[in-house]
């Protein structure tokens, strides 16, 4: 070979060698890998904030754009919005005008296992559960020791862990209440492809109760947790709700424990808000009555769920959206007519019970002849994006109003109910609690009831009046056995007069998508 050709061959080989690089691994630059995220101490707080955020927003970009779960619509998949719709729309309290795929089935109780709303709800519950499990794995003693986490941060992380367990318990409660027998997945189950086994409703109940009792002391005293954060008040409230419905969940009534937990709540640093409307207004974070809320903020915590949904959807017709601090109404939610009968005079501005003062009659019909027409039925814009002093929220599109998931009045009502159900306690105290609420409602003592009127059935009606549209109604009706086989209201069973439905509809079906993905599951009876 001549020198020249040798050189050219060599040059060619060098070039080819350059190409031969087969190292294709690339480290991500705009996302953070799990291996180094906790090098930054603030990550623990950002992570627990995400688990709370699972209730507040629908994803990692507000209002939409980077959804936590994949559903037919991100805005629809808001945790609170779903819980609220599943708890209210099938009852006598609310109906919605829209035709979005599956939403009318919530109005009529005639849902199927492929309903997109109940599917989204199920996966929201398990998104919260797996997120909390992952947090607990990442903050195990071994991991923290490995990362040499000590001092104030280590102490703070112990509180975060208790909060993660609280949020997991809260979602498991929603899961067992709505769906019955569901898988029980904890931090002991590693992520992977293996579908979990189904647990019985009793097992999930027992687990949630044990978790709540276990974390109680790791959380701040009732009423001191700060806005939107779990404390001992939130724990006691959730335990009270579990015990109150224990007969439905497990077959065994636990009213005494329910009363004890309600007492714990009442003993906390809470008081009845003298201004009823403030509890549902843009400045409700200042209300002393709220025990656990899902905070919303028009600029920083945006979504199409929560109170953004609750404020907008109840506005329409001839209502002036600006009066509610809104850019416009969504022409959706109204009362089913049967609920009006619970208020003296049929409710409304003229009723002495001012808890119905905001019911809107002009241009609306009280009967709900056409459920998909907003003018059919009375809107009840309970939630509003103006403050108690009349200032609109920071954004007209997204509400500033926090969603009051648990508030003191509910604890009063639970206490009274357990007393009427023979769980001990004091009837006088119970009567006092009820009349406290009624005095706020009437502005004076004219609405007070007597001891004779304080019955279990009265409490159900009073819960409807006090806690209207606060996401409790379905659970209450199921507990009183009036949700399916008893109780008639508009569009139940898809007829205007209402008709009874089969008892299996006390539970929602497990979603078809979940049954397809998890062969270990057995569908709820009847579906």
């Amino acid at each position: 070979m001549t020198t020249f050709t040798r050189k050219t061959v060599l040059a060619a080989l060098v070039l080819v060698g350059g190409v031969a690089c087969t190292d294709v691994a690339v480290e991500p630059r705009s996302t953070v890998s799990s291996s180094n995220i906790f090098n930054e101490p603030g990550s623990y707080r950002a992570f627990i904030a995400k688990i709370y955020g699972g209730l507040q927003t629908t994803g990692s970009a507000g209002p939409t754009g980077n959804s936590d779960i994949r559903t037919n619509d991100e805005g629809f998949s808001h945790y609170v919005r779903l819980v609220w719709q599943m708890q209210e729309l099938p009852t006598d309290e609310a109906g919605i005008a829209w035709n979005d795929d599956g939403v009318q089935q919530l109005n009529t109780q005639l849902w199927t296992s492929s309903n997109p709303f109940l599917t989204s709800m199920y996966f929201r519950v398990f998104f919260q559960v797996t997120l909390a499990n992952e947090f607990l794995r990442e903050t195990s003693d071994a991991r923290l020791a490995q990362r040499r986490v000590t001092g104030a941060l280590a102490t703070e992380i112990q509180r975060f862990r208790a909060e993660a367990r609280y949020l997991r318990a809260l979602s498991y409660w929603h899961g067992l209440d709505l769906f019955g027998d569901i898988p029980l997945v904890t931090e002991a189950n590693e992520l992977g492809r293996t579908p979990p086994q189904q647990a019985s409703r009793e097992e999930v109940f027992a687990y949630v109760v044990s978790e709540l009792i276990a974390i109680r002391s790791a959380l701040p005293p009732a009423g001191t947790g700060g806005t939107g954060r779990a404390d001992q008040g939130a724990v006691a409230m959730l335990l009270a709700k579990l015990y109150l419905n224990a007969e439905v969940y497990t077959g065994t009534a636990r009213y005494t424990e329910a009363r004890t937990e309600a007492e714990r709540v009442i003993a906390g640093a809470y008081s009845i808000d003298p201004n009823f409307r403030r509890i549902f207004s843009a400045d409700n974070h200042t209300s002393p009555e709220i025990i656990f809320s899902v905070p919303q903020d028009g600029l920083r915590t945006q979504s199409f769920g929560g109170t953004t949904f609750l404020t907008h959807a109840a506005v329409g017709g001839s209502m002036n959206a600006a009066d509610f601090g809104l850019d416009g109404g969504w022409f959706g939610l109204r009362l089913k007519p049967q609920i009006l009968a619970l208020y003296p005079g049929g409710g409304g501005p003229a009723s002495p019970d001012r808890r119905s003062a905001f019911f809107f009659f002009p241009g609306q019909t009280t009967t709900m002849a056409n459920i998909t027409d907003f003018s059919s039925g009375i809107p009840a814009p309970k939630y509003t994006n103006v403050t108690s002093t009349g200032t609109p929220g920071a954004s007209l599109q997204f509400a500033d109003t926090d969603y009051p998931m648990f508030r003191l009045a509910d604890a009063f009502l639970m206490y009274a109910e357990t007393v009427t159900r023979g769980a001990g306690g004091s009837r006088a105290t119970a009567l006092g609690y009820i009349n406290t609420l009624r005095q706020r409602a009437y502005g004076n003592t004219s609405g007070n009831i007597t001891d004779a009127q304080l019955t279990t059935n009265f409490i159900l009606d009073e819960r409807a009046r006090e806690l209207l549209w606060e996401g409790h109604r379905r659970t209450d009706l199921v507990r009183y056995n009036r949700f399916t086989t008893a109780g008639l209201w508009a569009w139940k069973g898809n007829v205007l007069a209402g008709r009874v439905t089969e008892s299996f509809r006390n539970l929602y079906p497990l979603p078809a998508a979940e049954l397809a993905a998890n062969p270990n599951l057995t569908q709820n009876t009847g579906y």
Partner: protein, 989 residues
């Protein structure tokens, strides 16, 4: 592993140890004896030296031999062979041996580009189709894929109707669910990014000037495409641009066009609308107004377009160059839409170092500017009440007060702006070195880059309707992505003629490495301090938000291929490629993609030659190949944390905390693999006056990269991208070309081509454990969160998912204001009509695609037409379903209705009724061109003047805007079809 490629090339280089010291050279040109010019692709065989080569595009060849005396033979199908005897080559001498071939049959094709090389049409063993420049569509062609619409069987080109609009090609159906279904585009050997690339414009292929394209080759089967391994699963489109010519040529061409909308939705007129409101929404009579406005008409226009092309090419000795410039300015038929382009290309090639080094460079640069009709204008124009005026008496735009009402489309057009500028350069250099002393051995190195920088700017003043409604205070948003993809490839090839076996052997092996970097800064500013600067500047804003994102990916490959031709009629090809991608975890990053094919040239068998048949060509072939597909996103195998933005913060006590979220992944994500089989038959009759192909294929895709629901509690979200499920495609393709009339120089000639293809697509498995799984897809307008399509086992991908209408006594679907139970079939008999009664029903992919092209010539006139037909494609008419019910007149503002409501009488929306899934089969006269050509007069080489009409007519039963409606078959206020008249001329000096 790192040195695998080095080894490959070393092995290639040492294939034939240089025992011979070749120091002489034989060179020459092969021309056709009828004077039609040089012939490319001719096999040159030197008897006695056991070496050979193939002539290049210009008919030239060069062979290196030892000193001696030789006989040089030239062989090409369709020609009688020629030979030169007694060629004496001395030490270090160059001897010229020119050869001339006599035409004995109409030529069957020419050189076919394949990955990393080219082959003879004659020797091709797999399924590929070439469209040469002369067969391209003409008229207003903004992007290159439009050149071959209706020309290639098995290829569906989906046009978005927008000038330069988005690209979508389906080669033999969709094989993937969540990974891409688009083919790989390769421009002059360089693979380019189309989907997800950096562009502020519409179609990422817009940077190419259609006038620069010499040919487009579509590699359809797995064997042809598998040399591109990972990205060949959806087929490969090879685009070859024009190269320089030996003689200097200057060509200039220009076209002018005018386009207008062919059809729009059928809406109520103002009288009908007012009557309907009075009857069905009396509470809204006050919102009617008394005008008579056709908002659709007001947002449409007669669109003008102009196009200039200038090219200069020439050469000296072995050097060739071609320089071209292009200017395009094309308006859309909707106000606000314009595509502009300036593009320049330089192609340069030369042979250096004693012609051993063949050097080639392509340098391209373009600037595209796209103006977009603001989002929502088309929908608003369709929905806006026709009884309202455009402007109020005081000159301001009329708007409804409620924010759920549609916005006045003319106000949006006047106030909002949305435009993008994209600079792109795709350039590469290639050096091919013929190794001395080993005849037939060469090494090629090819390196290229694809750089794009774009900016897209959106502006909305604080006075716009959307800003007034939301209180946003105006918005200025700008996204400025830039991307750089670099590639380097090296491969060696060895070509050898084994005369004693009448065999050709060709071995190619090499490696490639590509790197993709994309960084995307963007900002969105709300609460503008002033509206006065429009989109020209942003002095200050109350709420600016900045974002930045970097994406990187790499792809490395090694490949090898062997072609062996035995006895000149038994042809074999085998190839293998190994691909490694950064989009998979370390354990799964590499995949192997083998392929093999064989062909039998039956026509060359003596038993057939001895029979007296009209057959002039007959070839049978079979191919098998595996190709891969990777996910369209990076890092899907790795659990990362996503940092939440400022609007999804969590309120945490008194603080707002930005969140972090772990992602749900399958760390074992791996390559999706498509296995394909192809049977082909090629024939020629009457001296190839009639030629044709018949193909049958199957494609089975396993381990689909599929985003599927996972069991609650098992992962960090409810859907995870994993490998699950199977898809099958199978089909037949026919193509026939015939010279129907051959009137020689002074008579009529008529060439006709017909192609037809059928594809059957089926999702055969999602999750083996649950056969009944149904995954809803295909979002539609009408209600939030509604999906009209479904993925389910046993049905084609994205089948429509609807209620089946009951049939009345007349056999027609029952319609009217009736309960669902009277309208629809209760499929499961549970007494209720709900989601469980929706069934898969037809899909958007055509069962048959038929194309016909005729070229008629008479003296200096030419007439060509292209007809396209789809049979069995279905479109969901979302305008009719959304606006075809009287309930839309109620609520915050009455919106105009689709005329179908007069027929159906629907009061409630019936989005999921099968009546909206319409048979959109059609026949369209895509292109009709009349031209006149004059050659060689007053210094002009040739002059051609022509006129073209595109989309002259469409015949269909479909009632919506366009029966080709998008890749998913959902017709929801899509950009309307236009009929375009173009005149132009090309002149060459």
């Amino acid at each position: 592993m790192r040195f695998a490629a080095v080894f490959t090339v070393l092995a290639t280089l040492s294939l034939g140890t240089p025992a011979l010291a070749q120091s002489g050279r034989i060179t020459g040109v092969v021309t056709a004896s009828d004077g039609s010019g040089p012939v490319a692709g001719v096999q040159i065989v030197v008897s006695g030296a056991r070496i050979g080569t193939i002539t290049r595009d210009d008919g030239r060849y060069t062979l290196f031999v030892n000193p001696g005396t030789y006989t040089v033979k030239a062989l090409r199908v369709g020609f009688a062979p020629d030979s030169a005897t007694g060629v004496v080559v001395g030490e270090n001498a160059t001897v010229t041996a020119n050869l001339a071939l006599r035409v004995i049959a109409a030529q069957l094709g020419g050189i076919v580009a394949v990955g990393y090389g080219s082959t003879n049409e004659r020797d091709r063993t797999n399924s590929a189709a070439v469209v040469q420049e002369k067969d391209f569509n003409t008229g207003r062609v903004v992007s290159v894929e439009q050149l071959i619409t209706a020309k290639v069987p098995g290829v569906q080109i989906i046009d978005s109707n927008e000038p330069g609009g988005g690209i979508s090609l389906r080669i033999r159906g969709a094989s993937s669910v969540n990974a891409s279904n688009e083919p790989l585009f390769v421009v002059d050997g360089q693979p380019i990014t189309v989907g997800g690339g950096t562009s502020a414009g519409r179609n990422p292929l817009n940077f190419l000037n259609p006038a620069d394209i010499a040919s487009i080759t579509v590699l359809k089967d797995g064997s042809a495409a598998s040399i591109y391994g990972s990205r060949g699963a959806n087929g490969v489109v090879l685009i070859t641009t024009k190269q320089g010519t030996q003689q200097r040529q200057i060509t200039y061409g220009t076209t002018y066009s005018s386009s207008s909308v062919t059809r729009g939705p059928s809406l109520l007129n103002s009288t009908e609308f007012a009557a309907a409101v009075a009857q069905f929404a009396p509470e809204n009579v006050g919102l009617l107004g008394g005008a008579n406005t056709d908002f659709r008409d007001l947002v449409e226009r007669r669109a003008a377009g102009v196009d200039h092309n200038l090219a200069v090419s020439g050469g000296r000795d072995d050097m060739r160059y071609r320089l071209s410039l292009n200017y395009l300015d094309q308006d859309g038929v909707i106000l606000g839409t314009t595509a502009q382009r300036i593009a320049g290309t330089l192609n340069y090639s030369d042979r250096l170092l004693n012609e051993r080094l063949e050097f080639r460079a392509n340098i391209r640069g373009s600037r595209s500017q796209d103006f977009f009709t603001p989002g929502g204008v088309i929908g608003s124009a369709t929905a806006f009440a026709p009884t309202q005026p455009v402007r109020n008496a005081d000159g301001t735009f009329f708007q409804f007060t409620n924010n759920l009402a549609p916005n006045n489309p003319l106000a949006d057009l006047a106030q909002l702006s949305d435009q993008g500028v994209t600079f792109r350069s795709l350039s590469n250099v290639e050096a091919k070195y013929s190794i001395p002393r080993i005849s037939g051995l060469s090494a090629t190195v090819r390196s290229g880059f694809d750089y794009a920088q774009a900016s897209r700017t959106f502006f909305s003043p604080s006075t716009s309707q959307v800003d007034r409604e939301t209180g946003r205070g105006g918005q200025f948003a700008r996204n400025q992505p830039s991307s750089l993809n670099t590639s380097i490839e090296a491969f060696g090839s060895y070509v050898r003629r084994i005369e004693s076996l009448k065999s050709n052997l060709e071995v190619t092996a090499g490696s490639s490495f590509e790197e993709f970097t994309n960084d995307s800064p963007s900002f969105v500013a709300d609460s503008l301090f002033t509206d006065l600067l429009g989109n020209g500047g942003l002095p200050a804003a109350g709420m600016p938000r900045n974002f930045f994102n970097v994406q990187e990916a790499r792809l490395a490959a090694q490949f090898g291929r062997v072609n062996y031709t035995y006895n000149d009629r038994y042809l074999f090809t085998g190839s293998i490629r190994r691909d490694c991608s950064s989009r998979f975890g370390p354990a799964n990053e590499c995949g192997f993609f083998p392929a093999a094919s064989a062909a039998w040239r039956v026509i060359d068998e003596s038993f057939l030659k001895n029979l007296n048949t009209p057959l002039s060509d007959l070839k049978l072939r079979y191919s098998f190949g595996v190709s891969g597909n990777q996910p369209s996103g990076n890092g899907l195998f790795r659990s990362d944390f996503t940092v939440g933005d400022d609007r999804s913060q969590t309120q945490f006590g008194n603080d707002f905390v930005p969140t972090i979220r772990p992602s749900a992944v399958d760390p074992n994500l791996k390559w999706e693999e498509t296995t394909s089989n192809n049977f082909g038959l090629e024939y020629g009759l009457y001296n190839n006056r009639i030629t044709g192909t018949v193909e049958y294929y199957t494609k089975k895709t396993d381990d689909l990269i599929f985003e599927v629901p996972v069991a609650g509690g098992t992962n960090l979200s409810n859907f995870v991208t994993t490998n699950i499920g199977k898809v099958e495609n199978s089909g037949i393709e026919f193509a026939v070309s015939a010279r129907v009339l051959d009137g020689r120089d002074n008579g009529f000639t008529w060439d006709a081509q017909v192609n037809a293809s059928n594809n059957r697509n089926r999702l055969t498995e999602i999750n083996a454990a649950s056969a009944g799984q149904r995954i809803p897809v295909g979002g539609i307008s009408g209600d939030i969160g509604s999906n009209i399509q479904v993925l389910q086992v046993g049905s084609p991908i994205n089948s429509f998912n609807v209620f089946r209408s009951r049939r009345g006594a007349d056999g027609q679907p029952v319609t009217g204001d009736l309960p669902d139970s009277a309208l629809f079939v209760d499929q499961n008999g549970d007494g209720n009509i709900n989601q469980d009664d929706r069934v898969a029903f037809n899909n958007a992919a055509p069962r048959w695609i038929i194309g016909h092209t005729s070229n008629v010539g008479f003296r200096q006139f030419d007439l060509s037409l292209t007809v396209r037909a789809y049979l069995g494609n279905y479109v969901y008419n979302n305008v009719a379903s959304n606006q075809g019910n009287f309930q839309r007149l109620r609520g915050p503002a009455p919106i105009n209705l689709d005329r179908s409501v007069l027929r159906t009488g629907f009061v409630r929306p019936q989005l999921f009724s099968d009546i909206y899934v319409e048979d959109a089969s059609f026949v369209r006269l895509d292109n009709l061109t009349l031209g006149y050509t004059r050659r060689k007069f007053v210094g002009v080489q040739s002059l051609r003047v022509f006129g073209t009409v595109q989309n002259l007519f469409t015949s269909t039963d479909y009632t919506g805007i366009d029966p080709t409606a998008g890749v998913n078959g959902i017709d929801n206020n899509i950009f309307p079809q236009a009929r375009t008249f173009t005149v132009g001329f090309n002149v060459g000096f």
